[in-house]
């Protein structure tokens, strides 16, 4: 069980150490004093307060405390969800359909408001965020979906540039920026294609490029491989890993069991609106007891 796993085991594996963009804000992980490194950082089954105490260093980038979401029709989508995600973490959010994964993602970009509890992103309380400040939160968060949400009448270049234009980015930097993100996702040479001339994987790459134009600090992916074949799904995952390695926190809601099992990253499992498991280097399903 992850409870026995030392904290350091998760942090210092060289193949997983992210390439920090800003060495000054190394989120505390590598600097955690030795006395604390042996402490478990997160245990889903501990009460919220105990877990907060365990994450001693810096304020988590994403923090949900006792979050409840009840829709107007009475459906309870999330109940007492407490979750903390430090900077540059890579988290899989797993669970059956209707478990509340999408609701959680929608709460993070404040497409929905929590009914109870609090959500902080980089220290900002989302429940107190004024509507006119909402766009600036969204510019910190890159977001992709299962259905890509590309505009069919715009080319690849225009789809990506659209995100910069409508957020009034400096037009002088528009072309180099679009070219930069398109090269990150490996779509050089396809700038003038339209979405329907691209494969599903390529379309998702365009969506990822679009989500990257604001250099987001957080990247949310809601079932990004849901419409893709396994090989293409892996390509998208590689891309998300790259993005993570550049210093961006990635939260990916997924059904894709194979990917979660192979990746061995932090897994947060939701069922019936509650977090039932939160483990580092986890699998899609809870490990069987006998394996310990």
């Amino acid at each position: 069980m992850r409870d026995e796993m030392p904290y350091t085991a998760r942090v210092i594996r060289p193949d997983r150490a992210p390439a920090f963009r800003d060495p000054g804000i190394r989120n505390g992980f590598v600097h955690v004093p030795a006395t604390i490194t042996t402490q478990p950082t997160r245990t889903a089954l501990l009460p919220a307060k105990a877990r907060v105490a365990a994450v001693v260093p810096a304020v988590p980038q994403i923090s949900l405390q006792g979050v409840q979401k009840t829709y107007p029709n009475g459906t309870v989508a999330l109940r007492d969800v407490t979750l903390e995600i430090p900077k540059q973490d890579f988290v899989f959010l797993v669970g059956p359909s209707g478990a509340g994964k999408s609701t959680l993602v929608r709460l993070l970009i404040r497409e929905e408001k929590a009914t109870a509890g609090s959500i902080h992103i980089e220290g900002q309380d989302l429940s107190r965020l004024k509507r006119r400040h909402l766009p600036y939160l969204r510019r910190k968060i890159g977001m992709v979906f299962q259905d890509f949400k590309l505009l069919p009448n715009l080319t690849v270049f225009q789809n990506v540039a659209f995100a910069l234009r409508v957020t009034e980015g400096a037009l002088r930097h528009l072309k180099p920026k679009v070219e930069e993100v398109l090269s990150i996702v490996g779509l050089e040479g396809k700038e003038s294609k339209y979405p329907d001339q691209l494969s599903g994987g390529e379309q998702q790459r365009v969506a990822i490029a679009r989500a990257l134009v604001h250099d987001p600090r957080i990247f949310l992916a809601d079932e990004p491989t849901g419409n893709l074949d396994p090989a293409t799904s892996w390509e998208i995952i590689q891309l998300l890993l790259q993005i993570n390695a550049r210093g961006t926190t990635v939260l990916m809601a997924t059904h894709n069991r194979e990917i979660v099992d192979v990746m061995r990253r932090r897994v947060v499992a939701i069922e019936g609106g509650q977090i039932v498991r939160d483990e580092d280097a986890g699998g899609y399903h809870a490990p069987a007891l006998e394996s310990h």
Binding site: I109, R131, R132, P135, Y136, L137, R138, R139, M143, K149, L151, F162, A163, R165, V166, T167, E168, A170, L171, R172, R210, A211, V213, H214
Partner: protein
Amino acid sequence: MHRLWNRIDFAFSSAWQNFWRNAAVSIASVLIVWVVLLALGSLLLVLHSLDQIVALEKTKASAISVYLADTTPLSSAMDFKLHLESDPRVSSVTYVSKDEAMARFRQLPALDPSVIDTLGTNPLPASLDVTVKDIRDLGAIDQEVRTSPLVDKSPATNYEPNVIDKIILLARVAGIAGLVLIIGLTGLSVFIIMLTIRTAIYLRRKEIEVMKLVGATDWFVRWPFIVEGLIVGVVGAVVAVLIVGFGYRPAVINLQSVLIFVPLAFDPSYLRVVLAAMLGFGLLLGSVGSYLGVRRFLKQ
């Protein structure tokens, strides 16, 4: 500067696309704006003409022309003039001969002189133009002169005590009826513009979703639709302004030839005010309609 230009460029190009993407609805809203403004412009001009007529009639109100029978000799006419001048209520009396009457008649605007020439003889009577000190005495003097054998019987005088009241009443009725019509049409046009904007928002829903997702501000999302409403208002207004602007003078000239004795006049300075008002009202209709559309259908 770049950002402002980007915002303006985006708003106008999207608005223009929206306008043509749902062209049928857009054109319907342009038409209704056009009708409203045409009604508004016409009403303002008609009321202004009635005002002018009332003002002119008021200056004429303290005088009547007493028409003399063609059989009346000049000496009797002069005696009659002296008799009237001795009346303490009368301030002055002027004799107008048949020739003078004809000369005045020829000067009426929009009257074709060749028509008069075909008459051969001069049908106009000579008259005594009587000015009174107090308008309220006009009726009594009118009654007295009618009894004189020197006076023409058809008609005896041009005394029409109710004409001003009638014109004022006409102006009031026209004003109220026009206002009711314009208020109704205004409500209708705002509603239709709102529906146009709603259609545009519906057609753009995917773009709006992406815009909000990547962090566009509310106003950045709204501006294209407000601009679309303004385009509808301006296009409707420009068409109406052209029609009223170019149609006013021919309309006045035509009416002058029909209503020879009505003092209609072309007033270019007032026309400019009316055209400016039409343009302003068109912009107002467009912006209110689109603002309501945006407010109602672009809430999150």
